[in-house]
Amino acid sequence: MTRIAIIGATSGIAEHCARLWAGRGHDLTLVGRDTARLDAVADDLKVRSPVSAIDTLVASDFLDPQAVDMIVGALCAERPVDIALIAHGTLPDQQACQNDGALAADTMLVNGVSPALFAEAFARHMVPVDRGTIAIIGSVAGDRGRKANYVYGAAKGLVDRYAQGMQHRLANTNVRVVLAKPGPTATAMTAALQTKGQRMASPADVAKRIVAAIDRGSPVVYAPALWAVIMAVVRLLPRPIFHKLNI
């Protein structure tokens, strides 16, 4: 019986991962900040998979290290979960972040520090039993700082380095760390961009790739796959050329 915990379980991408896992009959614990929104996700999963045990855990503080330890401690009380998906994130307007230090700080904490704290807390439970998978949703925005979203991107870059370091540390163990880097995806986070007509991947397709990468224990997965190529080019572009691009 596979047990999975999802942090930020009301996220559109995470919800589609949960549907795939429920379809396999796995048990899920959904962690989020809003009871009503969590229940809506849980009810849906229960209809999709009557055999799965679907639980919810409401938590108000994702930033406080002690609170994070308590949440993860509760999830791993009997035994560590088999898979932890750390999905929460927020994408405020870049210019608003430039003009508002508090918003910028919050953006960097929620997208960068918080996921790292959760990942480390899960590792503390998984390493002693030498099993489990920690999956974190980063972003293509973390691959190179860009004017369009570098506050968010910097935090995603932190997650990238953190996952890299954990992978290095746990290379000779049976604990896997998977970093997912979606491109633009049609979820609540990007609703305004969708209205502007920007093309997006479907969260169902992105989730499929993430779940497959978790199955394999791949260290890094871009979703959709094309973004691996695009970001390889973006990372390699010489600065003079890069600086001329309006991206």
């Binding site: 996700v41 849906d44 209809v47 007509g197």
Partner: protein, 429 residues
């Protein structure tokens, strides 16, 4: 972004909101005059407006009761998802249109019918409750016994009473996902009309009719009858549809459907061509195997003309006009409807309904205006979910409940809040 209905005519520029929950829907509704959009399977301009709210992001199931078969889900859940989930558990939709790629919200808003209309009525007849977001931002739960005026305006109301957020529908129990399908050959119009009478108790029935046949063969058809099989697997749909890669010149669909029809029709044998047990998809959703088949009509798009006449009288006249024009597609679908329900703008009324594709061209629009007059004279009307061009006068003359509909809308804060290009064209401001 550019939007169109399934017929790809007309195409308009629209601002589209993408809510993922009720709160975001309410924000979109109170911000501007809008119309809800499901999977865009209505052919014309029912789900088109300057501001559109895409409902597909509301895609959660709420509850399924295995005792009663009552399913509650968001309006953006598709019939395809429902079938995929519940067919393996022995449940089927009470009513399914000819494609399963429609949303629950769209199925209610058009009060869609299937091949079992003569025995089971419309989709709305199996809806127990609707959560409706009104123009003032309020959400009300309505049903046949809860604010029935609003319920009977919303089922078939083309999104003009409010946004359907979620609904509870009664599913049908099945023992197998297979369908026992019998095909009956009818040499002319009289034969097919007689066949509908003879097979009046079949659960599912609809006919393919050859619209190019003239003279003695006028109305020659193949009547497809179906029953849920008693034995067999409970298999969900598995094969993903193949896509049409680019806009095709029109006429291709004619050749393909024509071949299939003729092969069966000219097969030797008595009046019953064949009985076979097949998966449910080819029986109910024959075109869903080919994704985006609407591109087969080419870039200019097409319109589907679907009307209902209270009696078979006049059907001959209309078929003759269509055959002589040479404009229509090779095949049309002919079906005998059962009685009408109480929903104010619901399309089905007792009689015969015919649905036929035409490519969107000036000569076609002239022909359809002519057909409109004939349909009106014969006491019939056109299906709003297929319409892209009928006049306000035609609509108001053939949907006598339109005023009662407007009164319900006025009472429930819908006027000025919900409007589509279609509703404006039809004078439902």
């Amino acid at each position: 972004m550019e939007l169109s209905g399934w017929g790809r005519y007309p195409r308009v520029d629209a601002q589209v909101a993408f809510p993922t929950d009720a709160t975001a829907c309410a924000r979109a509704v109170t911000a501007s005059q809008t119309i809800a959009r499901g999977l865009g399977r209505a052919y014309g301009d029912s789900a088109l407006a300057d501001d559109v709210v895409a409902m597909c992001g509301l895609d959660r199931f709420h509850a399924f009761d295995t005792e009663t078969g009552l399913l509650s889900c968001d309006a953006g859940v598709s019939l395809d998802e429902i079938l995929t989930l519940l067919v393996p558990r022995g449940w089927f939709l009470p009513v399914t249109p000819g494609t399963r790629f429609v949303t629950v919200g769209g199925a209610i808003a058009s009060d869609v019918h299937g091949k079992n209309h003569h025995v089971d009525g419309t989709f709305g007849d199996h809806v127990v409750a609707i959560d409706l977001l009104l123009g003032n931002g309020e959400v009300v739960r309505i049903g046949p016994d809860a604010q029935p005026d609003l319920f009977h305006a919303t089922c078939g109301g083309m999104g003009l009473t409010g946004m359907i957020l979620s609904a509870t529908i009664r599913m049908r129990k099945i023992r197998s996902s297979l369908i026992r399908e019998t095909t009956v050959k009818a040499r002319d119009l009289d034969a097919i009309l007689a066949a509908f009478e003879t097979h009046g108790s079949a659960t599912y029935s609809a006919a393919w009719i050859d619209c190019l046949a003239r003279g003695k063969s006028l109305g020659r058809s193949l009547l497809m009858l179906g029953e849920h099989a008693d034995e067999g697997p409970l298999a969900p749909r598995t094969k993903p549809p193949r896509a049409v890669p680019f806009d095709m010149p029109s006429g291709l669909l004619n050749r393909a459907t024509g071949k299939a029809f003729n092969a069966l029709f000219y097969a030797r044998g008595p009046s019953t061509v064949r009985t076979r047990t097949i998966p449910y998809e080819p029986h109910f959703h024959p075109l869903d195997g080919l994704a985006e088949w609407n591109r087969l009509y080419g870039r200019q798009g097409f319109v589907q003309y679907q009307f209902v006449l209270p009696s078979a009288e006049g059907l001959r006249r209309i078929l003759e006009t269509i055959a002589m024009s040479g404009q229509g597609a090779f095949l049309a679908v002919l079906k005998k409807f059962g009685r009408a329900n109480r929903n104010l703008l619901s399309f089905p009324t007792e009689g015969y309904t015919l649905a036929l594709d035409f490519k969107a061209a000036p000569a076609v629009f002239a022909l359809l205006d002519l057909l409109d007059r004939a349909v009106l004279d014969l006491g019939g009307r056109i299906y709003l979910a297929k319409d892209a061009r009928m006049s306000e006068a035609m609509f108001k003359a053939s949907y006598p409940n339109w005023q009662a509909f407007q009164e319900v809308r006025a009472r429930h804060h819908a006027i000025g809040r919900f409007a589509s290009h279609q509703s404006k064209r039809l004078g439902l401001s």
